[in-house]
Amino acid sequence: MGKVVLVTGVARQLGGRFVRRIQRDPEVERVVAVDAVPPEHHLGGADFVQADIRQPTITKVLAEHGVDTVVHMDVTGTALAGGSRGSVKETNVIGTMQLLGACQKSPRVKRLVVKSSTNVYGSAPRDPAVFTETTPPKSLPSGGFAKDTVEVEGYVRGFARRRPDVAVCVLRFANILGPAADSPLAEYFSLPVLPTVFGYDPRLQFVHEDDAVEVLRLASHEPQRGTLNSGTFNIAGEGLLLLSQCARRLGRPTLPVLLPAVTWVGAALRTLSVTDFSPEQIRLLTHGRVVATRQMRETLGFRPRYTTAEAFADFVRSRGPGLLPPAALAGAVDRIAALPLAGGGGKSGAGGVRRGADDSAHHSAN
């Protein structure tokens, strides 16, 4: 007998992709896709049920379809279209409570996967450089999406205590990027000039959309041999990028703003509805956040196909060139290198210069 998977939050890009992907798995018999608004993208052969998870009707949906695996992806930072921050918070927190209550009532549910975020760690200068799954945050997020995720995880832990027979997996995603990403960070990176916080160069980590879908799929099936897919896991690509590196790779100039003024700039941008510059995003862009992914690799047995840098490169390819394309800058430097004055008499070709550069790099390394 195949599995019946219920997925929430399918009106979003990532939810839709996950629904389409998981239908192709042989052990899945049926996929029930739930969201409050009908999605703009197609969902393959999934049964779409228009239901608001804030309402108790979700209990009926679970019972009617005989759902045994619930993938909760409706924990998000931004409203889909025209929604207010208040309704987002309600969907995140009240929706999760309703869904968990429904799961608790339904004896057939065997597995619960929750898409959370590394926002639960907050970002503060007093935090350790690398967060592991057990690091307690130094300063709890005081509001916004970060606080929502903390509360959602609290309810999920409570559910896991009450229903020990259900395998619960909480995936804390770093910032999800990719060609179709619609997260606030992706919007930020689409600005022509990136406002940054003066004197801070945050460390950022990204997950590629494809990897996000893959790991959700891994968590919603039976664990593979030698791995365990219940528990809490940080999900992020290998390595990290500094914000300054991101800006240069994107080819967008940065505009450093003093920390007190950042809030005003953020408010102005939000009023103009250019991007959602929420307080927790400002904190992320001030202090940065890096998580340890050893549990993901060793316990969950998941190896992302994209590193942080590759995920970002894929995102860059999907956006148009910025005002300062890196290729043009590199070309300008090469032209300077080709000048006879700088390159020195004999070898004036850029190739020669680059070879020389490699040599001197070796020198300094020795």
Binding site: G356, A357, S360
Partner: protein, 391 residues
């Protein structure tokens, strides 16, 4: 043996008089130490007159030798050293000197190629920087920037200003994790930075020191950015443990603000070593502890007072009042050019203890005391050997 009477700081002059023989002894030692001194010594083997220069420089006194290395070199006697030190030497000047010492093959290989390479290297560096194609580790350490820029900026201060003398570099293991524990002093953390340069420039395997810094460092704009890029991270057990597990060389100054912000009258008296957290981290990872004593940093900003109210208003742990600082404005923030010695002591192994040892408070206190005593002891010894604060 090292009771407090051994350190009569205030009468350096009279003690200097009493210790003529040590001064004599330290004369010949001088050319052998420090990277800069080695440069001077290596080059004179080419022209005859270099010998006299070096010998003459060493004999009259340390100032001449210390100061002459950069100054005396510039006129063009030893172009190699000049190039290594001040790269201001123009190409024309260099051309002049080339025939003079054409015989010895240059280590840089090939006449004018050095400058070409240098420029090409600089441009390649610029290219990587502008396009963002460089790597940082998960603590934000930017190895390339540190090597090429930050260290080059600190090196003149290290070489010329504080004239740091490094001893016992061989006590730092060639590979694997190790925890270097040093005393902390000097109002501003110059000692940590100098220790970082000392390890980077002197260690035969070119190891990088990863310093653990106070949370204040990571709250200040600009400072936090540079600190992360230079490989520093927050002084907490998680970060220290993670770095040691990766086999990095970690530097910690357990006295913290108590040490760096202590009044001038308490100089070279080690403060409490925190709660000994560094010992349990070392025990947990089985990394050896290398005690390190830094002499000279105490006198760079003689802190004669502490404006506590002002400090509280500004949210900093202390607000130093030195004979010069608030009074002369930014000029008063210039450190005094003291002569420094950094001595790395013999490593204390921690891998012989059972795994539960990290939970044993008694053992932790004992080890903490052992490290502290060793540093204090070495400090006293170095102070006795020191001829004066500035030379």
């Amino acid at each position: 043996m090292a009771d407090a009477k051994v350190i009569p700081f205030d009468d350096d002059r009279s003690r200097g008089g009493a210790q003529r023989p040590p001064r004599r002894r330290s004369g010949p030692r001088r050319p052998g130490d420090g990277a800069k001194a080695r440069d001077v010594k290596a080059v004179p083997s080419v022209p005859g007159r270099g010998h006299t220069d070096a010998a003459g420089g060493a004999a009259p006194g340390s100032t001449a030798a210390g100061g002459a290395a950069p100054g005396g070199v510039a006129p063009g006697v030893e172009p190699q050293a000049a190039e290594a030190g001040a790269r201001g030497g123009s190409r024309a000047a260099r051309r002049d000197t080339v025939p003079e010492q054409a015989l010895p093959p240059e280590p840089r290989g090939g006449g004018g190629g050095g400058w070409d390479r240098r420029i090409a290297g600089g441009l390649a560096f610029l290219r990587r920087r502008l396009t963002g194609e460089y790597d940082v580790d998960e603590f934000g350490y930017d190895a390339e920037l540190t090597d090429q820029v930050l260290m080059s900026l600190l090196r003149p201060i290290y070489d010329k200003y504080f004239r740091v003398e490094v001893k016992g570099i061989e006590n730092i293991p060639a590979d694997g994790g190790a925890l270097i524990v040093a005393n902390h002093s000097g109002t501003l953390p110059w000692d940590g930075l100098m220790m970082q340069v000392a390890v980077h420039d002197n260690h035969p395997h070119g190891r990088h020191l990863r310093l653990l810094a106070a949370d204040l460092v990571f709250m200040l704009p600009v400072v936090n950015e540079l600190a992360r890029k230079a490989g520093h991270t927050l002084a907490c057990a998680e970060d220290a443990g993670a770095l040691l597990e990766r086999g990095e060389l970690v530097g910690v100054m357990p006295e913290g603000f108590k040490g760096i912000g202590k009044p001038f009258s308490e100089r070279y008296k080690l403060q409490r070593f925190g709660r000994g957290g560094f010992v349990s981290t070392a025990l947990r990872t089985g990394s050896p502890i290398v005690p390190c004593s830094i002499v000279g940093a105490e006198e760079i900003y003689p802190m004669i007072g502490n404006a506590k109210t002002l400090a509280r208003v500004l949210g900093i742990p202390y607000f130093p009042l030195t004979p010069t600082f608030p009074w002369l404005g930014p000029l008063g923030a210039l450190p005094l050019p003291t002569k420094w010695t950094i001595q790395f002591g013999e490593a204390i192994p921690t891998d012989g203890y059972p795994p539960e040892a990290a939970e044993d408070p008694m053992l932790m206190f004992n080890l903490t005391d052992q490290v502290r005593e060793q540093i204090q002891h070495t400090l006293y010894k170095l102070l006795v050997q020191r001829r004066s604060v500035f030379f």
